[in-house]
């Protein structure tokens, strides 16, 4: 495992690279890139919200700020603090570097947890086969390094947008569930849902993680091999953590709502907040271009059908929740990855921050997904789209020589790539389980 030896230097180098680029964040102008900052996560809008709040208006007056009031409390004062001849959001950028580091470490911890259970399970199933099927790499290290070195993450970290925090909360929820720290899992889930709504569907993987424990081969294999009751020990659904989780979710949500209502005291209050955050996500009001496809769709679709298609797109995320949960019940972490990817495809304001998260989570399953098809094609596709998309955007918006369709085409290609990625990874994971079964049958 060569990765282990160079792990810490690589982490350090990634952080150093970020710190090196932070002073140039203003010149790179990443904060206004449609790929990086969406109306939900833009720090510039947060600054406007903070300014409005300081001038005793509700931060949600006008259509500028759509984030959480809690972020406003934490990051707001930092956006105002300036140092001469330094970029505007220096403090925030430093915080985001830190947040990225935490996220990477949590991903690594998740990887270790996964590997541990994997080891145990495989030993339980067939110790002799262990080396062969599990002769891979340290997935946690790989995943965290992917997270830290992914250009998408670097750009998101420097691009003064709040998606690193959203990502941290999602990872926190998964980590908490993996290591059965129920309050942490509940906190991560509540905060992630509060920040960007879509992680709400992660409740299923989190519950499965709490109930069954981390990823394992299909439960069917265990009784085949160990009818004596050893296998069933692993796969009994424990209700205790679930109830605890429900309790903690209630506690944390009340806490968050209470804090929000305190910070919005004197203004329109919670209703306004929900309308401006969740309503804004669900109704796709802002039609400014981003790497998704929905903005152009809703800019072009006939007003009459708008409601219908809004339902279609959002239900499409929910449609897949149940089938995937049934099929991947034994692999909750992978299920979480699939959910995150699907919501990244279909969410109303996608950014590369979402891609950064699911690509690094993909690294967690490096061993299982080693035989994934089209991986080279996907790799090239991601590079191609991420190079072409800014070019098309520039041609359309800045030069005026291009057309909206060019940019939309890259968005379509990106959506297709993500689709292929998620479908292939699910297919490979199912095949992997099948292969395990076959291997076990053979012996």
């Amino acid at each position: 495992m060569a990765g282990m030896r160079w792990y810490w230097p690589l982490v350090g180098a990634a952080l150093a690279l970020r710190l090196l680029l932070v002073p140039f964040a203003d010149n790179l102008n990443l904060g206004s890139r449609p790929e990086v900052a969406t109306p939900l996560t833009s720090l510039r809008r947060l600054e406007e919200g903070y300014w409005l709040k300081q001038s005793s208006l509700s931060p949600y007056t006008g259509s500028m700020y759509h984030g959480s009031p809690l972020l406003l409390i934490i990051l707001g004062p930092l956006t105002v603090k300036r140092i001469e001849s330094q970029p505007a959001h220096l403090y925030c950028s430093l915080i985001f570097v830190l947040v990225d580091f935490f996220t990477a470490m949590l991903i690594r911890a998740i990887g270790e947890k996964l590997m541990l259970t994997n080891c145990n399970n495989l030993k339980l199933l067939k110790p002799s086969k262990l080396v062969e099927s599990f002769g891979g790499v340290d997935a946690g290290d790989i995943a965290s390094l992917i997270y830290l070195w992914n250009p998408f993450t670097v750009v998101t970290c420097l691009g003064s947008c709040t998606s690193p925090i959203d990502n941290l909360m999602v990872v926190l929820a998964i980590y908490g569930a993996c290591s059965r720290i129920v309050p942490l899992a509940a906190f991560g889930w509540v905060m992630a849902t509060h920040f960007s709504l879509y992680p709400g569907i992660l409740v299923i993987p989190v519950l499965l993680l709490l109930g069954y424990g981390p990823d394992a081969p299909p439960p069917k294999l265990f009784p085949q091999k160990h009818s004596n009751g050893d296998g069933s020990l692993v796969h009994v659904f424990s209700w205790g953590p679930i109830l605890q989780f429900a309790l903690w979710v209630v506690i944390w949500s009340c806490y968050v709502l209470l804090l929000s209502s305190i910070s919005l005291k004197g203004f329109d209050g919670l209703y306004d907040m929900l309308k401006k955050t969740l309503g804004f996500i669900l109704t796709v009001e802002d039609l400014s271009p981003n790497i998704g496809v929905l903005w152009y769709f809703f800019a072009e679709v006939f007003e009459f059908f708008r409601g219908f298609f809004l339902i279609v797109f959002h239900v499409n995320i929910l449609f897949m929740v149940c089938p995937l949960a049934i099929r991947l019940m034994h692999r909750p972490c992978f299920l979480a990855f699939v959910y995150i990817t699907i919501s990244a495809i279909l969410k109303s304001y996608p950014s590369v921050g979402d891609a950064a998260l699911y690509l690094s989570l993909l690294g967690l399953f490096a061993n299982e997904l080693a035989e994934m098809k089209f991986s080279f094609f996907l790799f090239c596709g991601y590079i191609g789209v991420s190079l072409l998309s800014p070019v098309m955007h520039n041609l359309w918006i800045w030069r005026g020589t291009g057309n909206a369709n060019f940019y939309f085409a890259t968005g379509l290609a990106y959506a297709c790539l993500q689709t292929v990625l998620v479908v292939e990874s699910v297919s490979t994971m199912l095949n992997h389980d099948r292969m395990l079964k076959k291997e076990l049958k053979k012996t």
Binding site: L57, G62, L287, Y296, F297, I397, V426, L430
Partner: protein, 657 residues
């Protein structure tokens, strides 16, 4: 009985009539005269040479109606449509202007009653204050825009949408929460707006001064602004002011000696050469009908220097008609000169003796107009269609220094009122103020600020700022960053690539109040609404330019393609995902086994299948297939039987039916 009565009646009738005539009528008349309860109409025209060889003509018509209780719904002179409007919508004050062209504050003046009251932003501007409870105002405003739109044949009804109007609190006019303000900068103003406006006059454009309103010459002008102002209250009744301000370029033909001496001679002109028409008698319904000819302070001062300006014919110029009166401005600053006003009574003219007021210059003269304390400019910065900045710049005209030697503590206030449509998403936290090129701390300059940010597709953003500058500044600039919004294809106007207009900002200088009073006795003031308006005056205000913001457009021909493409991608995702999920391991194994066992290709396999089906036998060579067919067999048979049964039942019912 009845006959008797008939005979008796006439005498009684006569008596009654006599009684009324002798006693009551004078009494009634006294009441009417004494309290001004009669409807009145006055018409006035002010002509004024402008320094840049142009001529300003300002038509001012005023109708007034006494409080409605006095004479019910009947109007002799006052336009009924307006009276109904004022009554129905409970309007306290309303101003509607149709303008084409931009008032040139540098050349045509920015610090005299004429420019401050009559310079209007291009397009349509409408504001109205209502006498209604707060919750009814928005609704009433919407109805009012529709009514006005019908009345003036224009698209004022676009101001109905909540994205088009705003409710300024103190930045515009008064501290009123019952005021609504809306502007349509792109509205084209033409003769179809003028005709209904003229219809409100009792003589229309058939007699009196309005006869001069020749459409081609008005719409050829450099600037024309057609205004309607309504003031209504329970005590004074309704006052309707209709004003039309035109800046015309006199034709050069009449100006024979083109240049002489050190400069160009101003073009000589007359009413006839400007409008192609002459005034022949007043509108008989008008109480007063006058033409004024005004010489600006600076001009009068320069003419005075040549020769004491006493008569209408001096060494500098000659008026074509002998004025009835010439009056001087009072309270003028000594060394600055004072304006001169020549008065012509229209009632003296008739068909044989038309009133053709004009001027013939004898010597070249250069003069300037009083300037507002700051020249305002507003412009856009940045390129591309993603973001930009709006800058408002104030350039000092050194008016303050000229007026008074000011101390260090002296300060000048400016109120900026700006409305931006929602698709220009202004970041108000990026407000920067530069004074003489140096960035300032906002709180040092901004005394008062009211901002209502724009809501997407709901309301425009409006900004009211009270700024305080030291007197001795050269220039000040305000900048605000904004993001350009992206609209739904239906929201783009027909010519989307032309760009979108941001209405003019209004800058008011509350410290400066300009008024001009002439040496007249009170009775003449009472009779001349135009001069009494001059005397009243108003704070100096300046409208900035309209900004043209180009917005990115989507492809307008693409809706179907976009819908199909997007839905295809979705279907791809959904279909392939479902396919992956419902693929069974068992099936796959069977498939693999069948592949392994059957080396022959697809076509032989199909053929063998077909043959076996035809023979009614099952191919022995492929056990997995046979199992599958054996599984399918009973099901298929059951299905066939079911369909057959259904058909039979259906047939049976049909026959019975």
């Amino acid at each position: 009985m009845s006959k008797l009565r008939l005979r008796f009646n006439p005498t009684a009738f006569l008596l009654i009539i006599f009684f009324f005539n002798s006693v009551l009528r004078p009494a009634l008349a006294l009441v009417e005269d004494g309290e001004g309860l009669e409807e009145e109409f006055t018409e006035e025209l002010l002509l004024k040479p402008l320094p840049d060889r142009k001529v300003l003509a300002h038509f001012h018509f005023q109708s007034s109606a006494p409080p409605s209780a006095a004479n019910g719904r009947h109007h002799r002179l006052f336009p009924k449509a307006i009276a109904q409007l004022a009554r129905k919508f409970q309007i306290r004050e309303l101003e509607l202007s149709f303008t084409q062209g931009r008032w040139n504050y540098e050349r045509w003046g920015g610090f005299d009653p004429m420019s401050t009251a009559n310079a209007k932003p291009p397009g349509v501007e409408l504001w109205a204050a209502f006498d209604l409870p707060l919750n009814e105002i928005d609704h009433t405003w919407k109805n009012l825009t529709h009514a006005l739109s019908g009345l003036f044949c224009s698209s004022i009804n676009f101001l109905e949408s909540s994205t088009a109007y705003s409710a300024p609190s103190w930045g515009f006019h008064s501290n009123s929460s019952k005021l609504r303000y809306g502007a349509l900068p792109r509205e084209a103003v033409c003769t179809e707006n003028l005709t209904p406006w003229l219809k409100l006059l009792p003589c229309r454009d058939k007699a009196g001064i309005a006869l001069l309103l020749d459409r081609p010459s008005i719409y050829r002008s450099h600037y024309h602004s057609q205004r309607l102002r309504l003031i209504s209250s329970e005590f004074t009744g309704i006052i309707l002011e209709q004003a039309l301000t035109v800046v015309l370029q006199p034709s050069m033909r009449s100006n024979s000696p083109a240049s002489s001496g050190y400069g160009f001679l101003q073009p000589s002109w007359s009413v006839n050469s400007l409008f192609g028409k002459e005034v022949v008698g007043q509108c008989v319904l008008a109480k007063t009908s006058r033409i004024f000819f005004e010489l600006e302070k600076d001009l009068a001062f320069k003419v005075d220097k040549q020769q004491p300006l006493s008569s209408w014919n001096n060494s500098a110029f000659e008026l074509s008609v002998i004025p009835n009166n010439d009056i001087r401005e009072i309270n003028a600053v000594k060394n600055m000169g004072s304006s001169v006003l020549y008065v012509f009574e229209v009632s003296n003219s008739n068909d044989h003796m038309p009133l053709d007021v004009g001027i013939r210059w004898k010597i070249p003269l250069v003069w300037s107009y009083p300037q507002a304390p700051f020249h305002m400019n507003r412009y856009l910065m940045g390129s591309g269609n993603e973001r930009g900045s709006i800058a408002i710049s104030l350039r000092s005209t050194h008016l303050l220094e000229r007026f008074s030697r000011v101390s260090d503590g002296c300060a000048v206030h400016a109120v900026i009122f700006q409305v931006v449509p929602w698709y220009v998403k202004v970041y108000y936290h990026t407000l920067h103020i530069f004074v003489d090129g140096k960035a300032q701390i906002i709180s040092d300059v901004v005394r008062k600020m009211k901002i209502s940010p724009s809501e997407d597709k709901l309301s425009p953003g409006s900004m009211e700022l009270l700024l305080r500058f030291p007197c001795n500044i050269e220039s000040a600039t305000l900048t605000l960053d904004f993001d350009k919004g992206f609209l739904h294809i239906d929201e783009y106007p027909p010519d989307a690539n032309q760009g979108f207009d941001i209405p003019s900002a209004l800058v008011t200088f509350p410290d400066f109040h300009c008024s001009r009073s002439y040496q007249l006795d009170d009775s003449i003031y009472y009779k001349s609404p135009l001069l009494s308006k001059f005397q009243e005056g108003n704070p100096v205000q300046t409208y900035t330019e309209v900004l043209l913001v180009p917005l990115t457009t989507p492809d307008f021909s693409m809706p179907y393609n976009v819908i199909t493409f997007t839905c295809t991608v979705l279907a791809l995702y959904f279909g392939s995902m479902l396919n992956v999920l419902r693929r069974r391991a068992g099936e796959e194994e069977r498939l693999e086994r069948s592949k392994a066992s059957e080396k022959p290709g697809l076509i032989p396999l199909l053929l063998s299948k077909l043959f076996s089906k035809l023979k009614g036998k099952e191919p022995e060579s492929s056990p997995p297939l046979s199992t599958s067919s054996s599984i399918l067999g009973p099901k298929l048979v059951a299905k066939v039987i079911l369909v057959g049964l259904l058909a039979v039942i259906w047939n049976y019912y049909l026959k019975n039916g």
